[in-house]
């Protein structure tokens, strides 16, 4: 690609790398070639819309500019210098508009619509068409999240190409052919896929619109706040559209190294949980008849009383979804102010991963990717799944080692699989060692994942190869940032207190975690910092309202080790955590600023080498790799899988719980997302199903230790023998070994 070609566009000489598309070449020369269907991220150009017509000298007819690449000596005339091209574009637009309803005042796209803009610039001023336009029923719900208006559709095929070529879900298709083509799903089934929302952003007209944003605001009434999604550790860059102090929609903000401009439906559609009815809007104190609202002064008094009363016997349950600053603030208050050092965070990340870090986009260019772990990548960090698909389309080999892997492995066997890979006699390990573009991904919980991964990468010699990288996918958005900030807040370490005087539960993930609930049984008092009433009732002595990531200023570290900046999209209905943490810290004689920027500065001096907030910018860069330091042998947290006995009772199956992408307290509070949640079903391997005479769709009953759950069975050919895989939310109180019988 290093050789350059020289060509002339509109009498301007341009020099670009060979193979550059004509649209980009023209853009480099400051010339616009208008497009609708062209979108390089969707793969090769299709030339469906004909908007990009240009005249190329030596070619008899007008050419679709987007389908051409720059050639040496090419002479191109766009509409601005060629009357033929201008005429062609005008004609194209006239055709496109033949059946377009021009209902711009009613259309949600109006004001930010490429068709509107390009018609204004290149189109005819009036129409010659006098016959009635095609009409369809509208809007058609493609899913509860997406509305389709077929009258507005110009058949550019961006959405169907996304569905088939990027997300590879193949659910949004073009039905019929020619003039009768229309975008559709199968029958009445909704477009149910983790990345469906991207088609809304891709649509160059108002044909696919968000039902959440429907008629909510117009482009001149909104403010877009650049921030980072706080729902998974990928940290996709997003833009929160706000109007009148409310988030109205979330869109992708292309960070080519992190998300490539895509965003999953969880990140895009869960914002309505900010306005949930059961949101905690004031501090609550346990009174005689349950939780009673109190003033902030009274709440802080009570908090001080509880903190002092515990006499340092405090355990903090961190969520891993806090901003780094909030975690640090908690650390300053509890560790420095009270000498309480004990924290639980159910994650196993490791700073040693930094020796082999690289942007997520490295995956897209890889030739060999090995994913270990029992969880689907899409459930943990969805955007990584898109990168993996991109790599596979480009010819990479993807090997998955796990309970549903291409290489089957026993449940919880990820650590062993990695050890085997790093061993000298491993065939796959040998290829990883030899490759310059190899990736290792850990997609599962526990097992000391981060540290094991770093060790394996070190053993495979990844550090010296910039095209090789490792990615550990934690369960929580800012798992690494929180762990590091907590550690940085004070120096001393103390053993776990017993009995626990006070349990501080920070955040909703921790509040919903059964192991934290079990811990609370042993604690004499509990302070819960949570957003929702249902997570607060029944166990907390004091409830302090929490804020959501869209309401926070601060930073978060994503799974790559990239520090990214969160911006407050909307003012939360309650004071944010740092505001009252600083007030509380004052009472214990430790200094903590209520401003995230100041806290970051202090923290940055300790752990980020004095990195400045300004240096993060809108698209944060990834710091250089750090020299490898062998991780500490014991991981930060205990994993449930680590101490499961190898052999289980004969006839029973090992229960493999997984946390689906569309789950959790935020998703639960968004009615229109419910259709994306997993079915009530249990996956069984072909062998286990046959042995029990179970077929897909049969009602089965799962029993263990006196509890039982009834759900539908699904035979999963990829699943290893001896495992029953089901979503966490359906597993209820089932134990590790379950008996599966036909109901």
């Amino acid at each position: 690609m290093s050789d350059l070609v020289k060509l002339t566009i509109d009498d301007r000489e341009v020099e670009v790398a060979k193979g550059t598309g004509l649209v980009e070449t023209a853009a480099a020369a400051g010339i616009e070639i208008p497009v609708f269907c062209y979108e390089p991220r969707l793969g090769p150009a299709v030339g469906a819309c004909r908007m990009c017509l240009v005249e190329v000298e030596g070619m008899p007819k007008l050419q679709a500019g987007c389908t051409l690449t720059a050639q040496d000596g090419m002479v191109v005339h766009t509409a601005s210098t060629s009357a033929r091209a201008a005429e062609g574009q005008k004609g194209t637009l006239e055709f496109i508009l033949v059946n377009h309803p021009l209902d711009c005042p009613v259309c949600d796209k109006g004001g930010e619509c490429p068709l509107q803009d390009l018609t204004f610039r290149y189109g005819p001023g009036s129409t010659r068409m006098t016959f009635p336009k095609l009409t369809f029923d509208k809007p058609i719900p493609v899913s509860p999240l997406i509305a389709l208006d077929r009258e507005r559709c110009i058949l550019c095929y961006r959405c169907t190409r996304f569905s088939s070529d990027v997300a590879e879900d193949e659910q949004l298709i073009a039905r019929n052919r020619g003039a009768y083509s229309m975008i559709a799903t199968f029958g009445d089934e909704p477009y149910r896929a983790p990345f469906s929302g991207n088609v809304i952003e891709l649509c160059p007209v108002g044909a696919l619109t968000s039902t959440q944003y429907r008629f909510e605001a117009r482009p001149w009434e909104i403010q877009d706040v650049p921030t980072v999604c706080g729902l998974c550790p990928a940290g996709c860059n997003i833009r929160a559209t706000t109007r009148e102090g409310l988030v109205k929609r979330v869109q992708s903000r292309n960070h080519p190294e992190v998300d490539g401009g895509w965003l999953c439906d969880k990140g895009r559609f869960t914002f309505p949980h900010l306005r949930s009815d059961d949101r905690v809007r004031e501090p609550l104190v346990r009174g005689t008849v349950g939780l009673e609202p109190v003033s902030w002064d009274a709440a802080l008094d009570r908090a001080e009383e509880l903190l002092r009363g515990a006499q340092g016997k405090i355990v903090t349950a961190l969520s891993g979804s806090e901003t780094t600053e909030i975690a640090y603030g908690l650390g300053v208050l509890l560790r420095r102010g009270l000498g309480a050092h004990s924290a639980v965070l159910d994650e196993s990340t490791s700073a040693a991963l930094d020796a082999c870090r690289a942007p997520l986009s490295t995956i897209g260019a890889a030739e060999l990717v090995v994913v270990v772990g029992d969880d689907e990548v899409v459930d943990r960090a969805p955007i990584v799944d898109l990168w993996l698909r991109k790599a596979r389309r480009a010819g990479a080999e993807i090997v998955t080692i796990g309970a549903r892997g291409s290489v089957p492995a026993p449940v919880g066997g990820a650590a062993e699989a990695l050890r085997d890979l790093a061993a000298a006699d491993s065939e796959l390990g040998g290829r990883l060692r030899a490759s310059d573009r190899a990736i290792l991904v850990w997609s599962g919980s526990g097992g000391g994942g981060g540290a094991r991964l770093a060790e394996a990468a070190h053993a495979l010699g990844f550090e010296g190869k910039p095209g090789c990288a490792v990615f550990h996918l934690p369960a929580r958005a800012n798992a690494r940032g929180v762990a590091e900030a907590w550690a940085a807040a004070a120096d001393a370490d103390e053993a776990d207190p017993e009995p626990i005087g006070l349990l501080v539960v920070s955040g909703d993930e921790a509040a919903g975690d059964p192991s934290v609930r079990a811990l609370a049984e042993r604690a004499s008092t509990v302070i819960a910092i949570t957003m929702f009433h249902s997570l607060a009732v029944g166990w907390a002595d004091l409830v302090l309202p929490a804020t959501a990531s869209l309401e926070r200023e601060g930073t978060a570290m994503n799974l790559e080790g990239r520090v990214q900046r969160l911006r407050r999209a909307v003012t939360p209905p309650v004071p944010d955590e740092l505001a009252w943490l600083s007030k509380l810290a004052e009472r214990f004689g430790v200094a903590l600023s209520p401003h995230a920027a100041v806290v970051f500065e202090e923290l940055s001096g300790r752990i980020y080498g004095g990195l400045l907030l300004e240096q993060l910018g809108e698209h944060a860069g990834l710091p250089a790799r750090r020299p490898y330091e062998a991780p500490e042998p014991t991981p930060l947290a205990h994993s449930p899988e680590a101490n499961v006995p190898e052999d289980h009772f004969v006839g029973t199956l090992r229960l493999l719980r997984y946390t689906p992408l569309f789950s959790g307290h935020q998703v639960e509070r968004v009615p229109e997302l419910q259709f994306q949640r997993p079915e009530r079903e249990v996956a069984l391997s072909t062998v286990d199903a046959d042995r029990r005479g179970i077929a897909t769709g049969d009602l089965v009953s799962l029993r263990s230790n006196g509890t039982s759950v009834e759900l539908r069975a699904r035979v999963d050919a990829r699943l290893v023998e001896g495992v029953a895989r089901l979503a966490d939310e359906h597993a209820a109180h089932l134990h590790a070994d379950v008996e599966v019988v036909k109901a």
Binding site: T160, S164, D169, E170, Q171, L172, I173, A174, R175, N176, R177, A184, T185, F186, G187, E189
Partner: protein
């Protein structure tokens, strides 16, 4: 699902480098089994056998003329109305069929016996007008021949 259709499709798949390449023969098999057209159930069966989505099957089936996504009659009468046939009086043939059958082109008779369609070129321009009855070509059809064809279908 009927196991034989699945098996038949899997048999066809062996001829191709990857399963999805077999979609057209697979849809044809499914159409034969579902009374000449493809209900949603047929798409699900094909999708399951080829490991693709039902939506993908619909996109293929709705593109090609020989697949029917709406119910058709027991017999299918297809009249070519492309250029050669048109100049040889295809329109009169169509009208004759419409009169004899009492339906418009594109419709099925009330008893569900015959579906009348107009189609593009059937590859018999030298023998216009061409009428395909249940995929069997009748050549040089004139409006006067229509009565006989319809009578045959009624039996």
């Amino acid at each position: 699902m009927s196991p034989t259709l699945h098996d038949e499709i899997r048999e066809v798949v062996k001829e191709y480098p990857e399963p999805r390449s077999a979609i057209i023969p697979a849809l044809r098999l499914a159409q034969e089994r579902h009374g000449g057209w493809l209900p949603d159930e047929a798409f699900r069966q094909v999708a399951e056998a080829l490991d693709v989505t039902p939506a993908y099957c619909v996109s293929i089936a709705s593109f090609y003329d020989m697949f029917h996504t709406e119910p058709v009659g027991r017999h299918l009468v297809e009249v070519c109305t492309n250029v050669s046939c048109a100049v040889s009086g295809a329109q009169r043939v169509v009208e004759a069929f419409e009169r004899e059958l009492g339906v418009h082109a594109g419709e099925t008779t009330e008893d569900g016996n015959v579906t009348l369609r107009t189609v593009e070129c059937l590859g018999g321009c030298g023998w216009a007008t061409v009428v395909a009855v249940d995929n069997r070509h009748h050549l040089r059809v004139q409006a006067g021949d229509v009565g006989g064809i319809v009578k045959e279908l009624g039996e």
